[in-house]
């Protein structure tokens, strides 16, 4: 098998940017491009290279059929074809004609498709404290009985909560959103998206009016500068990284800036690496914005015509000349000036914002500053000017309203939007929870812990393995936990009812990738045993609950994936994420980007062409919030700002957090769960170099002290990065989890309500030597963070990233 990790440049396909005529053509709407003479090349010049991963001993000739699907490895949204032989998926191949990947595959793709241990084939119910095999009727009856019991009391809607993972299809997310928001009326719907994608979505909505990545992957073809903000592209988005590297190796390569605390592969490739101190992104970006504005390198005409708030922005960034930013961030002044010069000189800039920024101190505020950078330079809505806020997968959950806001990127504070949904679903608007944004995941678990949530339904997610201390909450007697998953996860072991779900390849549905490309994933093989598609389970629940609209008709009127997609189309119509022009037939010919109206069979390649943003009061997704506290401003103030389709330049001051290392607390503490077969947790993994500096030896009892608290654990010397200590938690002990949370829950992103469990600055103190106990071999980190684990990809990717 091809091993591109060992030989990263082995099969490079360097290419140059399209010429000026092609660039002009690329800026035209799709239907006008059809009218151009054929001499003008319309597609992307990125050469096709088809990657194939097949089971050992299987050749392409042995494959009975290839079934179209989308990448299961990450949020990039590559189109793949599944090799089917003898009723099994035996391989995967990149689709040559797809606009996203041109045939390439993520190296994690094949592992993500391979079946893992512990596949669920029959429903399980808890009997006498043990999970026993059962039938669908019994299992669903229990869920429905419990739901009805809870709903019978006043405020019953607030006793049922849903948590979803990234491995659901759009149709499933939308069906769940309708069941939850129109049938039950619960505000408690969230999921793994809260872990990383929330800050990205919040920043996009704050700056541009609604969520949605403004750029297209083809912008990488056209750009002359690339800026990666806390984005270890090689690890998080390998296919996008190959596209960038191919441009860098071809003629007319783009300049590259990487802002990242670590020397990642992307940082090594960059022309300018801004090795910011962890948690100081806002200061760095304010410094860059200062340079651009002070030197007049911004596009003043664009700013005047298409943005609001440049004076306010200048008042804030005025205090961040390069010298001050450099001091805060620990980056040489010259490096910041050099980066500002590249940004100022760029004609076509592509920025990607990654998990290291979106999971760090002041996440939303920092992401908004990258938005500001593009707004000041007018780098939006034209070929080569692209912006990606790549927090993690979950576009579908956010668009359809199964997590976060209302379906169709609607604004809960806008009575018009709520009425639209009520009319669409034919329900009383009062049923739809709209007194505030949906309850965030941490709060849902909090309500479950205090006992006010009585039923928690977790679909396609394994939050227990990602959240220390959650197992104790789910084990509560009075909490009824439903887990719907293809595999026996740690969460499933604590459930009262476990519903076996079909995995990808065993069900049909659509998935949206990071540049808004919708792909169709078709059913390739039958699910094992009695496992069912998640959509079928949800439809069954709606039927058994007898959820009805105002006229007594079934609330959920669809029966399969395609009709669910049609229902979603009706919901998305007229909104920025308009899907009305997309059909399953159209998707069978290849991915389509939203928004796509029936007028043109192409989706819009880039959002905000011509500087028109979705900020009108009747269109926007949010009326804005204070970036520092999350205080909601409300409609009146929003209208007073008079955006009228212009974008917001949100200013933010840098706020230090305990995440930022200094002389007193020179090390960075990260918290991970211990791998299953590791020595008795909790323990601290310390780099041998640091250990020598602090006089710590293997097996010593050491204390990690942060400005917030302290925690004692046994030290294990291992090869983690110098300057970082990793606390490995067992997950069963409340005291441990609480101490770790105290130490490391250093910040909370108030706008996106995303917990930032990234790191804390600590110092190490040796408490006592512990003799004996030879050091055991540590399980490699990949075991916890493999892309194939069903926990939130954001989490997995972030952990991976931090461990590199």
């Amino acid at each position: 098998m091809l091993d591109r990790i060992a030989d990263p440049r082995g099969r490079r396909t360097p290419y140059g940017p399209p010429d000026a005529v092609e660039r002009l053509a690329a800026a035209l709407p799709g239907r006008m491009r059809d009218a151009l003479p054929p001499v003008i090349r319309l597609g992307s010049p990125w050469p096709v290279r088809v990657d194939v991963f097949l089971e050992d001993g299987v050749t392409e000739d042995d494959v009975e059929c290839w079934v179209p699907a989308a990448s299961a490895a990450g949020s990039h949204g590559e189109a793949v074809d599944l090799a089917v032989r003898g009723g099994r998926v035996v391989g995967v191949r990149g689709r040559a004609g797809d606009r996203v990947n041109h045939g390439r595959l993520d190296p994690r793709e094949w592992p993500a498709w391979q079946p893992r241990q512990g596949r669920l084939t029959r429903p399980l119910v808890r009997e006498g404290g043990h999970l026993v095999e059962s039938t669908w009727d019994v299992a669903m009856d229990r869920v429905v009985t419990r739901s009805r019991h809870l709903l019978a009391a006043p405020g019953g809607w607030g006793r049922i909560a849903f948590h979803t993972g990234p491995r659901l299809f759009l149709e499933e997310h939308y069906t769940l959103a309708v069941i939850g928001k129109a049938g039950i009326g619960t505000p408690h719907m969230d999921g793994d998206t809260r872990g990383c994608a929330a800050a990205a979505a919040a920043a996009l909505a704050a700056s541009f009016g609604t969520d949605g990545q403004p750029g297209s992957y083809t912008d990488v073809d056209h750009c002359d500068a690339l800026a990666l903000w806390g984005h270890d592209c090689a690890a998080c988005h390998p296919v996008l990284w190959e596209r960038m590297l191919d441009r860098r190796l071809g003629p007319g390569p783009p300049a590259m800036i990487v802002a990242d605390p670590d020397r990642t592969p992307a940082a090594r490739e960059a022309d300018v690496h801004l090795a910011v101190r962890r948690g100081t992104n806002v200061a760095l970006l304010n410094g860059l914005l200062h340079e651009l504005l002070a030197n007049g390198w911004h596009d003043a005409a664009y700013v005047a015509a298409h943005t609001v708030g440049v004076e306010r922005l200048w008042r804030t960034v005025e205090a961040y000349p390069a010298k001050r930013a450099a001091e805060i961030c620990g980056v040489p002044v010259a490096r910041i000036e050099q980066a500002a010069e590249i940004l100022g000189a760029a004609e076509r800039l592509v920025s990607t914002v990654g998990p290291a920024l979106l999971g760090s101190n002041q996440a939303t505020a920092a992401a908004c500053q990258v938005d500001n950078l593009h707004l000041l330079l007018g780098m939006l809505g034209r070929p080569g000017a692209g912006l990606f806020q790549l927090g993690g997968p979950g576009c579908d959950a956010l668009e359809t309203g199964s997590a976060g806001d209302l379906p169709g990127l609607r604004n809960w504070a806008d009575p018009g939007h709520v009425r639209e949904l009520a009319a669409l679903w034919n329900v009383d608007p009062a049923v739809i929870p709209h007194w505030g944004p949906a309850t965030h995941a941490t709060q849902i678990f909090g309500y479950a812990e205090e006992g006010s949530v009585g039923l928690l339904w977790i679909t396609a997610s394994d939050p227990v393995s990602a959240t220390p201390g959650l197992d104790r909450v789910l084990a509560r007697e009075d909490l009824f936990v439903v887990v719907q998953d293809p595999y026996v996860t740690e969460t499933a072991l604590l459930a009262d009812v476990v519903l076996p779900a079909a995995a990808w390849g065993e069900k049909t549905g659509t998935v949206t990738g990071a540049d808004r490309t919708v792909h169709l994933c078709e059913k390739a093989v039958e699910p094992p045993g009695e496992a069912r598609a998640d959509l079928a389970v949800l439809l069954d629940y709606a039927r058994r609950m007898d959820l009805r609209d105002r006229d007594g008709l079934p609330l959920v009127g669809w029966t399969d994936a395609e009709s669910a997609f049609e229902a979603w189309k009706a919901c998305s119509g007229g909104r920025p994420c308009d899907h009305t022009g997309i059909t399953y037939d159209r998707l069978r010919a290849g991915g389509v980007q939203w928004p796509c109206t029936p007028a043109g069979s192409y989706g819009a390649e880039r959002l905000y062409a011509g500087g028109r943003f979705a900020t009108e009061p009747g269109r926007c997704q949010t009326f804005g919030a204070d970036l520092a506290t999350g205080a909601e401003y409300g409609e009146e103030r929003y209208r007073a700002d008079g955006p009228r389709g212009r974008a917001f330049l949100h200013a933010a001051d840098y706020e230090p957090s305990p995440e930022v290392a200094d002389d007193a607390h020179p090390l960075v503490l990260l918290v991970c769960r211990a791998p299953r077969l590791s020595p008795a947790p909790p323990y601290l993994e310390v780099h041998p170099g640091d250990a020598a500096a602090y006089g710590v030896e293997e097996g010593d009892l050491v204390r990690a002290e942060s400005p917030r608290g302290a925690l004692e654990a046994v030290a294990r010397l291992s090869g983690v990065r110098p300057g970082a200590v990793v606390l490995r938690l067992g997950g069963r002990s409340e005291a441990e989890a609480r101490a770790a949370a105290e130490l490391t829950l250093t910040s909370w992103d108030p706008v996106s309500r995303q917990p930032l469990r990234t790191a804390a600055a600590v110092r190490l103190v040796r408490v006592a030597p512990r003799p004996g106990e030879p050091a055991e071999e540590l399980t490699p980190v990949e075991g916890v963070c493999s892309a194939a684990t069903p926990l939130g990809h954001g989490v997995a990717v972030r952990e991976r990233y931090e461990e590199v």
Binding site: T442, G446, T629, G630, E632
Partner: protein, 202 residues
């Protein structure tokens, strides 16, 4: 401009300083008292520091308007600090006592509580207490912040009357921060209220 006018202003500023300190203590106590509300920590710490800074920046003006010779007399002239309406206070206390043994603290003293408010959840009973206590505490902080908000607008008026540009500038910078504090408290209350009052009371 008579001396008594400035002494009254000094008293008024002192009142604001005290209220800001009380509000600062309240924000601090709020996050210490609710360790299970992860969002409170950062924001409350920040707002507490903000209030403290407001108070500290007001103190020079308080001295300026009191005058050096007034220092000894200040006790006699001082207005009573703001006291919550006894009826509201009693009602709050009763509710908190009903909510659980841990539910006293902020209302009776600004001392940070060491027992987590959500601790009742551990024992599997009284889970609704945390939410209700939180709501009442936010409520009270809102009243305090309103007090500050009003005072800042009065201070701005007076500063304009006295042509004290520095004080006017200070009010111009602090008043918007207090306004955001009010917005935040309102936002947070709105999020906590339905679950605490409708769902958990069942």
């Amino acid at each position: 401009m008579g001396r008594s006018v400035t002494v009254h202003l000094a008293d008024y500023l002192e009142l604001l300083v005290r209220t800001e300190h009380e509000l600062s203590g309240g924000f601090h106590a709020l996050w210490r008292g609710h360790p299970r509300e992860p969002d409170l920590c950062g924001v409350c710490e920040r707002l507490a520091a903000q209030c403290r800074a407001h108070a500290e920046r007001l103190e020079p003006y308080q001295r300026r308007y009191r005058g050096p010779q007034q220092g000894e007399r200040q006790m006699e002239h001082r207005m009573e600090p703001w006291v919550p309406d006894p009826v509201i206070l009693d009602a709050t206390r009763t509710e908190l006592q009903r909510a659980g043994p841990e539910g006293v603290g902020l209302v009776t003293s600004a001392r940070p509580r060491l027992t987590p408010a959500g601790a009742a959840g551990n024992g599997g009973n009284g889970g609704s207490g945390g939410g209700l206590v939180l709501l009442r505490e936010l409520h009270r902080l809102y009243l305090l912040a309103t007090e500050c908000d009003l005072s800042w607008s009065v201070v701005a008026l007076v500063a304009r009357g006295l042509k004290d540009d520095d004080l006017l500038d200070l009010a111009g910078r602090c008043a918007p921060e207090t306004a955001v504090q009010l917005l935040w408290l309102r936002t947070r209350m709105r999020r906590a209220a339905p679950q605490a009052l409708v769902v958990a009371s069942w």
